[in-house]
């Protein structure tokens, strides 16, 4: 992290000046070939941009300045996000910045912050998330990977699954069971583990799109020092839950469906579909749904901007965003007719159009980060307060 970056008080700048600075930086410095990618970036693709951000002190906009972040207040943070979206900046393996950093800043101790935060900023540590298990998906609190304290070390046994980008990662944060005698949620702890620790093995899992983003991570008597416990023993559930709301705001952004929409326009024009009232009706419905998603998203953005806390009602944003995204991806395939069955990008009227990727990208959106059914359970219980 650079010394100058720490001295700039971005929050003292006017919104316009900050936006201008962010826009110029993202426009000039981000690699053009990685703009508006329909998928996440690998670590290899991300690394140069990671280091560029790090050097400028812009990698962690939401961390306090004292920890090497930009210390942006909510209003400036929103501008930062808006400008990354506008510039089409890809999603990096950013668990270190988005999850581990804020967790350690809020729940960790000074030693942990000193040990881990600089290595996230420098790109030496790449983190992945170990939450789900083969028998604990939507019912995450039933997880069974256990950690037993032996002397100064926790000894971990079990396995984690759907760990995105684990094969790129140097470190993993895991939820583990440390007390089997109490109610499920109360016996879970939050541990940090080096992926090179003996006893860890990996299996990559191919998804239906042919990609290998997922892994299963096996723990066979894996020892991690007790200093790597975040918070107190058995407080892991609270820590994990406290971090999810901002993630849901990000998932609810209309950016990704908008990108898919941009494939639909040239396709429809080439195939003459704007003369087909049936198509136009469906297209219009989706376009209006997308605009309405924008209104709903903006409502939450305004809350963040005003410093208001986001409550469980934000689950509705994820439900509607992902539902809209999927319907859009499905219309793209339907509109493509026979083209909609081709595995690879097509060329039509001299333009490359990617019909299949939005389908594969949108499909897991209603499953990860708490499936849409789980989101509906949350809304039913905490917002509508319907009985159990």
């Amino acid at each position: 992290m650079s010394a100058t970056a720490q001295q700039i008080d971005y929050n003292a700048m006017s919104d316009e000046d900050f936006r201008k600075q962010a826009r110029e930086f993202f426009e000039n410095e981000y690699p053009d070939e990685l703009r508006f990618m329909p998928r996440r970036l690998s670590w290899e693709e991300s690394k140069p941009w990671w280091l560029t951000l790090s050097k400028k002190g812009w990698l962690a906009p939401n961390w306090p300045v004292a920890n090497g972040g930009m210390g942006l207040d909510p209003a400036k943070l929103i501008i930062y996000w808006e400008e990354t979206e506008r510039a089409g900046i890809g999603r990096m393996p950013d668990q270190g910045v988005t999850m581990v950093g804020p967790t350690l800043i809020r729940f960790g101790n000074d030693e942990q912050r000193a040990k881990y935060l600089p290595k996230i900023l420098s790109g030496d540590n790449v983190w992945c998330q170990g939450y789900s298990e083969p028998n604990a998906g939507s019912d995450l609190a039933s997880l069974r990977t256990e950690a037993v304290l032996e002397g100064d070390h926790y000894v971990i046994n079990g396995s984690k699954i759907w760990t995105s980008m684990a094969h790129n990662a140097t470190n993993i944060y895991v939820l583990v069971r440390t007390d089997k005698a109490v109610k499920q949620q109360r016996g879970i702890s939050f541990l940090l583990v080096d992926m090179k620790t003996p006893g860890i093995t990996l299996r990559t899992i191919k998804n239906i799109a042919g990609g290998e983003e997922f892994c299963q991570v096996f723990f066979d008597n894996v020892r991690t020092h007790k200093d790597n416990l975040v918070g107190k023993p058995n407080e892991g559930w609270t820590i994990a839950k406290g971090l999810l709301t901002y993630e849901r705001l990000n998932i609810g952004s209309p950016r990704r469906p908008l990108q898919a929409f941009e494939q639909l326009d040239p396709l429809a024009r080439e195939l003459g579909l704007f003369n087909d009232q049936g198509f136009v009706d469906r297209y219009t419905q989706l376009k209006m749904d997308l605009n309405d998603l924008g209104s709903l998203y903006q409502r939450y953005v305004d809350k963040v901007r005003n410093g208001e806390a986001l409550g469980p009602d934000i689950s509705m944003l994820k439900v509607f965003a992902m539902d809209t995204y999927q319907r859009l991806a499905e219309l793209l395939l339907e509109a493509g007719a026979e083209y909609g069955a081709l595995a690879d990008e097509i060329t039509l009227g001299g333009k490359k159009i990617d019909l299949m990727t939005p389908f594969y990208t949108s499909r897991p959106g209603t499953i990860y980060g708490g499936s849409n059914e789980i989101q509906r359970n949350i809304l039913s219980k905490y917002v509508l307060q319907l009985p159990n």
Partner: protein, 379 residues
Amino acid sequence: MSHADLSEHRMMLANSVADFARGVDLKRVRRLSESKAECDRKLWSQMAELGWLGVLVPEDYGGMGLKLADMAIVAQGLARVLLPEPLTAAAVLAARVISDGSNEALKSKLLEGLVSGDMLPALAWQEAAGTLDTGNVSAQATPFEGGFRVNGTKKFVIGASHADGYIVSADSARGMQLLWVPKNTAGATIGFDMLADGRQAGTLNLKDVTVSKDNVLNSGAAATNSVACALDHAAAIASAELTGIMGRSLEITLDYLKTRVQFGKAIGSFQALQHRAVDLYIQQELSGAVLNDVLTVLDEEPDAKTRSAAASRAKARCTDAALLITRQSIQMHGAIGFTEDCDVGLYVKRAMTLAAWLGNGTAHRRRYAKTEILEGAAV
């Protein structure tokens, strides 16, 4: 007025509307098809005293000179209790056209009458069903020395049953005319079709009706544009009414889910119903978010294309959401929901009549497609 002041004054407005609504009994709406008393002039005068009829009327004419976002608060709050008085028809649709009038004397007279509650005007713009085109008018105004003689038929006039007069659009050799035709003018006869919710849709027949120069409100492109603007504004406020209807209907239904016991437990504990209730709630919140954005756009007085696109967004979303929520309210109540005694039926019917008025979901999506999608797509 600072933003903080504005919020406070809107809060006060919402509170006074809620107080008023607490005194409203649904009995009256339930009997509307027999009583045909959709406008209680005593109640109307009270609404006038509270300033609600003049929310959008400029202060120079006795109104409050406020924004559509303020009017939406009044309309939404009163729609929650299904008040049948023609608030949107008179205080938005007619008020807008009168406010845009070029005949100052007539404008003053009508606006002051509207604000005081003494004069109830109704806008008679529509002829064919399923159109939002305000320029395509068959009614004819033939000029003579003292004014116009008018012939034609106007349909689906809302708020006509107790109206003191009609603002009629008619085509002429000098372009479109907006003409004030007081009730009981020779040659003007009004008939009614009952709407699903017991209110009345008027059909105004005009046969050689004489309109003096004094009663010409507006002419030409200005007249056409003012009707188009009024339709968009009224569509947005009707959308606010729809949010009030869906909100109350969902509240009633959620209460029922929490208290109705079957199979030994509250039916709201069943996941099939929980998830359906959540989907209805999402549609309600989406409608609120869209309406809010649309009112902000409209209150900035944008160009006609932007204005119509915004109004269509609100009316399409709020209409579809209100129909979905109220119909599902019946389903989630079971058989009792289909009885006359159950309130949810009243909400379904009002949602249906407001849905059809000023363009339903399909009409607004088609209009949006025409200007926002197809014109840009170069097909």
